[in-house]
């Protein structure tokens, strides 16, 4: 079994926030962004989430993410432009009607990126131990977390075996001509290995007395100064956006 602690998360973690804080803030920001339909409220959330992202990711990573985000936005606008020939009413949309949906997507990118960059499989076990998750879900999740590196290892071993077997002849065109061969020599062995691993692990788990009723215990959530400050600033940004949404939209 590969050592989970060797799989390091990517990106520089300047704030060093607890994963629960990142999860909570992302959930809060997503809900607030979904509720906000005023341009200024959406802009406040976008600015606050942008600051949150800049403090936790390298500029190159942010640029790459926004390049992808921009490509998606352009594709969506292209679809909208094509649709406007069928439905002319779409051409008369106000700027806010186009900007607000994209700002929601922007908030989502800003909040999710730090979460994805700093998440690790080894850290996930700790997060799960601190959150109230029932044993029925916790046991398969622990199995999943432990198994993913093994599965990736099996996958690369099979890929090497296929490369050896076809000695460089197996390019993209080769597999496009023989899709069923790919299924037979690549996917089928993976599933057989999966089922064998499931049977072996199940026996090991039963021998250790693990079941859905096992009490895995729960560790306390300890918040550092940076966690509390970020939570407070996040709450302040959401409150400001809510005030703008209520009063500015009404005005």
């Amino acid at each position: 079994m590969p050592d989970l602690s060797r799989i390091r998360p990517a990106g520089a973690d300047r704030l060093g926030l607890a994963p629960e804080v990142r999860l909570g803030l992302t959930l809060l920001a997503s809900l607030a962004a979904l509720a906000a339909d005023d341009l200024w409220a959406a802009a406040t959330l976008l600015a606050a989430s942008g600051l949150y992202l800049i403090l936790q990711a390298r500029l190159r990573t942010i640029a790459l993410a926004y390049l992808f985000f921009g490509a998606m936005a352009m594709t969506a606008l292209g679809c909208l432009w094509l649709l406007s020939f069928v439905f002319p009413a779409l051409k008369e949309a106000s700027p806010a009607a186009v900007i607000v949906p994209f700002s929601r997507l922007g908030v989502s990118v800003n909040m999710v990126l730090p979460l994805a960059l700093h998440a690790s499989l080894s850290g996930l076990v700790g997060t799960m131990n601190r959150l109230p998750i029932p044993g029925l879900v916790k046991l398969p999740m622990l199995v999943t977390i432990r198994f993913i590196p093994t599965f990736i290892n099996d996958f690369s071993q099979l890929r090497q075996a296929v490369r050896l077997r076809f000695r460089g002849r197996a390019g993209l065109l080769f597999w496009c001509r023989r899709p069923f061969l790919w299924w037979r020599i690549f996917f089928m062995p993976l599933v057989v290995r999966l089922i064998r691993s499931a049977d072996e692990l199940a026996v090991a788990a039963e021998l250790k007395g693990l079941s859905a009723e096992t009490d895995f215990g729960r560790a306390p959530i300890i918040l550092k100064k940076a966690d509390r400050a970020t939570l407070a600033l996040g709450a302040a940004a959401v409150t400001a956006a809510s005030i703008l949404q209520v009063f500015h939209a009404a005005g």
Partner: protein, 199 residues
């Protein structure tokens, strides 16, 4: 124990209790199998997405094909009501914790899968009719895509035309799901023949 639980008249009440407490519904080997399949499904979709270079129709179809084939094999190996919901919950929570996916829609996605499982239970259940694994996966994936479309609409309610891209992506990946059902059933037949899945 679990078969008796689901075939009895008070099955639904006891199922709800079992789902909330985890008692009497799944044995340890079922939970381990569900965990392994959820991990394999998640890892293989990520590997295929990286290998295929992101969002192109071929990768989307291939990802969904592998995903649904694995889910069909899982349901034939663990033919219990709640298995699909639990597998989707585990895969969903993994995406939630690691990638921040489906932050808001996760409870609705789980509810959609559970509703599908109730329908399958009404049709006789997976234990009696293993082939129902294919419609179970097809229906739950359809329900989940509809929930996702609803949340996409909420996110772009000022300009619903923007949702068309999500609709196209969902349609492509659902083609993969439908292809994967046949592949999964064929694979399960071969695995049963090899003695890896017992009746």
């Amino acid at each position: 124990m679990s078969t008796d639980l689901l075939s009895s008249s008070a099955g639904l009440t006891r199922l709800a209790r079992a789902l909330s407490t985890g008692r009497g519904l799944f044995e340890t080997r079922d939970l381990v199998t569900i965990g392994l399949f959820a991990g394999a499904a998640k890892a293989s979709t990520v590997i295929l997405a990286l290998a295929g270079g992101g969002m192109n129709p071929v990768t989307m179809i291939l990802k969904s094909l592998v995903f649904s084939a694995l889910w069909v094999v899982l349901l034939i190996k663990v033919p219990k009501t709640g298995a699909l919901t639990l597998a989707n919950t585990v895969a969903g929570l993994l995406g939630f914790f690691l990638l921040g996916q489906a932050m808001i829609s996760l409870p609705s996605l789980i509810a959609a899968t559970l509703a599908t499982e109730m329908l399958i239970l009404g049709l006789g259940g997976l234990k009696k009719r293993p082939w129902l694994a294919a419609p179970a996966v097809a229906l739950s994936e359809l329900a989940m895509r509809l929930v996702n479309l609803f949340f996409s609409y909420l996110g772009a309610r000022e300009q619903p035309g923007l949702v068309i891209m999500v609709l196209i992506i969902s349609a492509f990946s659902y083609i993969g799901i439908l292809l994967g059902l046949a592949a999964g059933l064929k694979m399960a037949r071969e695995l049963r023949h090899a003695g890896l899945i017992q009746d």
